[in-house]
Amino acid sequence: MVGNNQEEMLKFLKSSIMFSQFLLIFYLNMIAVTLIQPVCAWTPGQTRDLWTPRLLINVPYNGRAEGESGWSSKIRFAFPFGVESSISTTIALNRSNGECSGDFRLCRWQEYIYGDQAYAVKISESPLGYIWDRTFYIYGADKKTCADDLCEVNYGGYGSVWFDIRYKELNKIRDTDGAVTEHCHGSTYAIFEMDIKVSISKVSVGLGKCYWQGGGEWDYWYTFSGGGHRWYIDFLSTETPSIENDELWAFDYRY
C-alpha cells in the first residue's frame, strides 16, 4: 500500500514536471509570436557620414527671413517601401538679404539594398563620437534669386544629403510700398515636401522625399523691404499651395 502511494506520488511529480515544461514552451512560443516582429529582409550595405538638414531657410533679397521649428518638430526622410528616418530639431535661424541658409547635423546613413534598389536610413547623429552641427549658406551665385540655391554642401571632408529648395515656379507676386512681414505657420500635416537623395556609394542612389513631420510646429516669417520692390514667390509645395499650408518659400527678386 505504502509502495503504491509512493509510486503514485512519483508519477504525479513526473507528470507535473512534464506538464509544466509543455506549458512553458507553449507560453513562451505564444509570447514570441505576439511580441517579436519579423526580422528585416533588407541587406545592409555601406555607411556614409553626411551633413543632414535640420532647418532650411530661403531669404528674400532686400528682406529678411526667420525660420523656427517647434519643440517636438522632426524632419522625416521617407523612401519608398516604408523606409523612413527622422531628425529632431529645436532650432531657429534668422538671415537677411538673400543669404539662404541651413542648419545641418553630421549623421551616419546606412545603405540598405532591396532587390536592385538601394535606400538609406539614418543610424547615428554622433558618428564621430560627438554631435556636430553647422550652419551653411546655401545661396548660389546670385543672392537675388533662389533659383540657383545649392542642393548639397561640403565641409570637413563630408558631403551632404541632396536637397532641393530652389525657386522653380511662380505661385505669388509680392509687391511692396512699405515693409511687409508674412508669417507662415504649419502644424499637423506634411506641408512641405522636397526631393531628397542619399547617395551612399557611386553605384546606388536612393531617392525619397523629405517632410516636416506631422505634429511638429514650423514657423517662418518673411519680411519684404518697402520702396516699390517686386518678388516672385514659389510656395515649394507639391500639395495645394497656399499661405496657410506652406512655410518654406523660395524667392526671385525682380526689382
Binding site: 531657429a92 538671415r95 536610413v121
Partner: protein
C-alpha cells in the same frame, strides 16, 4: 495562467482535495509572488513622480568684438535626487542658446562647444559651428538637447533616445548635471575685422522622467523585474507546479515515516 490546468487536475483528483499540500503550496507561492512582484511595487510606484522638471534660470551673456581673438567660457549646473534604481529614469539635460553675429569685415566660423557631464563623467559633446560672411547679420537660437530619432524599415520601427544610454552614469540619491559652454573663433577659418558677437547661454533644464520600459504599469525605479511583471507571473505559476508537487512528495514521505 496555464498551470491552472494542473491545479484543476489536482483538485479533481479522486473526489475531493486529494493533493491538498500541492494546492496549498502552489497558491501560497503564487500569492507571495503576486504580492512581491505586483502589489508592493505598484504601491511604491504611486509615490514616484512620472515627470519632474528641474531648472537653472541663469542666463549668461557675452558681448565680444571680432577685432581680436576671444574665448568665452561658462558653466550651468543642476542637482537632482533619484529615488530607487537610477536605471529606471530617463534624464534629459537641455540648454538654451542664442548667438547673433553682426559683421562688417570679419568672416569665418564661431565654434560653440557644449559638453554635458553627469556626476563629473562626460556624457555628450555637441559642437556647433556658426558660419558668417563679411557684411552679414546672422542669428541662431535653439536648445542643445540629446538626439531623439526614429527609423522605420518594412514596418519595423526603431526609436533612438540618446539620453537612455546615459543612465549608467546616474546614481541613487543626489546627482549633478553640468553643462560647460566654450565659445571661440575656429582657428584657421577666422578673419578678424570689424564686427561683434552677442551670445546668451541659459536657462538650463533637466527633465527627469520615471520610465516603464517593460510597460507593466510599474515604474522602473521600483520594478525589480526587467521583464513585464504580468507576463512573468504565469511563468512563475507554471514553474511552481513541479515545485509544489515536490513539496507534496517530500511532505507525504516524511508523514509516512513518522
Amino acid at each position: 495562467m496555464m498551470s491552472y490546468g494542473l491545479l484543476i487536475i489536482a483538485i479533481r483528483g479522486e473526489g475531493n482535495m486529494k493533493h491538498k499540500t500541492f494546492i496549498f503550496s502552489w497558491v501560497l507561492m503564487l500569492a507571495i509572488s503576486i504580492a512581491g512582484l505586483v502589489i508592493s511595487p505598484a504601491f511604491q510606484s504611486i509615490s514616484i513622480p512620472t515627470f519632474i522638471n528641474h531648472s537653472n534660470d541663469e542666463t549668461i551673456k557675452f558681448i565680444g568684438s571680432m577685432n581680436e581673438p576671444f574665448l568665452f567660457k561658462c558653466e550651468h549646473n543642476i542637482s537632482f535626487i533619484l529615488d530607487g534604481s537610477p536605471e529606471g529614469y530617463g534624464v534629459k539635460p537641455l540648454i538654451k542658446f542664442y548667438v547673433k553675429i553682426r559683421s562688417f569685415k570679419a568672416s569665418g566660423t564661431l565654434r560653440l562647444n557644449f559638453t554635458i557631464y553627469y556626476n563629473e563623467q562626460m556624457v555628450m559633446c555637441n559642437l556647433r559651428d556658426e558660419v558668417f560672411e563679411p557684411g552679414s547679420e546672422v542669428s541662431s537660437a535653439g536648445w542643445i538637447a540629446p538626439p531623439e530619432w526614429e527609423t522605420k524599415i518594412e514596418g519595423l520601427s526603431i526609436k533612438h533616445e540618446e539620453w537612455l544610454d546615459w543612465r549608467r552614469y546616474l546614481r541613487s540619491g543626489e546627482n549633478k548635471a553640468v553643462i560647460k559652454t566654450t565659445i571661440a573663433p575656429l582657428s584657421g577659418e577666422f578673419n578678424f575685422g570689424d564686427g561683434e558677437v552677442y551670445v546668451e547661454i541659459g536657462p538650463m533644464k533637466v527633465e527627469v522622467q520615471s520610465l516603464d520600459m517593460d510597460k507593466d504599469g510599474i515604474k522602473d525605479p521600483v520594478d525589480a523585474l526587467k521583464l513585464n511583471n504580468y507576463l512573468f507571473l504565469p511563468i512563475l505559476g507554471i514553474l511552481y507546479a513541479p515545485a509544489s508537487a515536490f513539496i507534496e512528495y517530500v511532505t507525504t514521505k516524511r508523514l509516512k515515516k513518522n
